[in-house]
């Protein structure tokens, strides 16, 4: 599979990365190599069932019974930024 300059720009947009014009040729080449590496998988049979979990488990589900949620302090404990009980996402400049 070949990778074009536009593919790189599109991927960068989706990943919210800014890419310099000067970086494009190098990135395009690297990405093409990575994809070529992954192409090996195409040689393998890919029936949907082959991707199932190795335990062969189906229908692992839980009953619809409410359990207490965590305290808000615990929920927000790891937040980089918070305000008034909300997670706060600062606007990117």
């Amino acid at each position: 599979m070949s990778i074009s300059r536009d593919d790189i720009l599109q991927i960068a947009t989706l990943a919210k990365l800014s890419v310099e014009e000067s970086e494009l040729p190098e990135l395009t080449k690297d990405m093409a190599q990575m994809i070529a590496f992954a192409d090996a998988i195409n040689a393998v049979s890919t029936e949907a069932s082959d991707f199932d979990n190795i335990n062969g488990l189906v229908n692992v589900m839980r009953e619809d019974v409410v359990e207490p949620s965590f305290s808000r302090d615990d929920i927000l404990k790891n937040a980089e930024s918070q305000d008034d009980g909300f997670f706060l996402v600062k606007k990117r400049s």
Partner: protein, 471 residues
């Protein structure tokens, strides 16, 4: 040029489960921000989702009620996109193996709107944009949704509205969702494209996101149809994009270029196992479905002899239909029960929410007993009506208000005496009536009814009054 609308809808319906789709946090609406959360629904690393059985059950019911096939095997997939309403940067949804597919909803004009698929997924959190920052509340994150995707079969704004109304009614009937648009438990994305009348190929479509009221949906569609028509008329292309509707300005604006499915990099959710639905389970659910609105409406019209408008009003809310059926059980003419509900009881339930809940002061059996008195000729219509008002005021049965004396009715001699008295005491009314004022008769009738304490039959009394005046 004349254009034809081609529209398809994606309808998100929040399921009425107690817990979220992948964790045991409550799904209750509202609550202080970030108080219905746990490490699973805020997407902390190392947590594992576990599917709520009820979500699968409800989705199967929704599929069966909309004539879908239920997939014997389905799975969950990751839909990747980066936005703060999704803490994991992906939504767990279903991509190529949805739980339900190939269904339809039939509209009143006989057209069938195809349902491509119904899949289960998790709702995103709520974002509040303020002071240049974004505040995130994940209470809604992980609340179970079904997304009902229609075929592009809709050809008018009216059809779009009816389609959503029917979905709403059906989902409420089977009890899988309360479908409250104002609380966001039913919301639609509307795809819109135009093509010249007679052309087969579809035009380029745009998608208006997150319509959460019927009025706004209709307005947004009308705006977008005329915007696209103007573009096409002036030879400009319609750009495929995602739009939001600005209520205050009655216009749509671009949110972002439309993603292709590729951009979401869907792949199998490795943390959740395959969902298998055995045929026996599907049949069990099919057998347990309640009678749905359309068959019920037909039955009311065909078998109970109700006029169509009455049938529509009674069927619209499941609880009203249940009340009607209990109250008309064994009654000679169910139309009398329908009249009581539509004419009198509905006046006491003002809004949609109240009709939906239909909590009224008397049980349906009280109404049935009252109508049975009419059936057996023991009381007349006017006494039935006034008694029903008293019953509704007090929550008491008819026997509290109708005495043995009333039940005896009124004999022809007494009625004649009362009528004669009314004529003698109101000579002016009599001459007015003879002078051509039809209304004067009503005041005479009023006297008769009052003096008979409501026991006289109004029709009989009216005829007798006319006969006496003319004699």
């Amino acid at each position: 040029m004349k254009y034809e609308l081609v529209s398809g809808l994606e309808t998100h319906v929040e399921l009425a489960t107690n817990t979220k789709i992948f964790c045991s946090c409550t799904t209750e609406f509202g609550g202080d921000q970030n108080t219905h959360c746990c490490p699973i629904c805020i997407g902390l690393p190392g947590t594992l989702p576990k599917l709520n059985q009820k979500v699968v059950d409800y989705a199967i019911m929704a599929g069966l009620a909309t004539n879908c096939e239920i997939s014997p095997i389905s799975k969950m997939d990751r839909k990747n996109y980066c936005y703060p309403d999704l803490p994991k940067a992906y939504q767990i949804s279903q991509y190529d193996m949805p739980l339900c597919k190939n269904g339809y909803i039939e509209l009143s004009n006989g057209r069938k709107i195809g349902i491509t698929r119904i899949h289960i997924e998790e709702d995103a959190g709520k974002l509040v944009h303020q002071r240049g920052n974004t505040y995130v509340d994940y209470n809604r994150g992980g609340v179970p949704l079904i997304e009902i995707v229609s075929e592009p079969d809709i050809r008018s704004v009216e059809e779009a509205r009816e389609y959503v109304e029917k979905l709403q009614m059906i989902m409420r009937y089977i009890g899988v969702s309360d479908c409250k648009m104002q609380e966001g438990s039913l919301r639609c994305d509307v795809n819109i494209s135009l093509r010249p009348v007679g052309q087969k190929e579809f035009g380029t479509r745009t998608e208006i996101k997150n319509m959460n009221s019927f009025t706004f949906m209709e307005k947004a569609m009308k705006y977008e149809i005329s915007r696209q028509a103007d573009l096409l008329d002036s030879g400009q292309p319609v750009v495929q994009e995602t739009l939001r509707y600005i209520v205050e300005e009655d216009r749509t604006e671009s949110m972002r270029g439309k993603e292709d499915a590729n951009d979401y990099r869907y792949f199998r959710e490795p943390d959740l196992v395959t969902i298998e639905v055995p045929a026996e389970k599907v049949e069990k659910f099919r057998a347990a479905l309640p009678e749905l609105p359309d068959p019920k409406r037909h039955r009311y019209i065909e078998q109970l002899g109700l006029p169509e408008p009455d049938a529509n009003l009674l069927v619209k809310y499941r609880k009203v239909a249940e009340f009607f059926e209990a109250a008309s059980d064994g009654v000679k003419n169910p139309k009398n029960v329908a009249n009581c509900i539509i004419g009198q009881i509905f006046r006491r339930v003002e809004n949609e929410a109240q009709k939906e809940a239909f909590e009224i002061s008397i049980p349906p059996e009280y109404l049935r007993d009252l109508v049975l008195l009419l059936d057996s000729g023991k009381i007349k219509m006017n006494l039935l009506k006034s008694t029903l008002e008293k019953m509704l005021d007090s929550g008491k049965p008819a026997s509290e208000f109708i005495s043995e004396n009333d039940l005896a009715g009124i004999d022809p001699d007494t009625l004649k005496t009362l009528c004669t008295q009314a004529l003698e005491q109101n000579p002016n009314a009599v001459s007015d009536y003879l002078g051509g004022k039809e209304k004067a008769l009503k005041s005479l009738l009023g006297h008769v009814m009052k003096n008979s304490r409501g026991r006289a039959d109004a029709m009989e009394a009216e005829q007798l009054l006319i006969a006496l005046i003319r004699s």
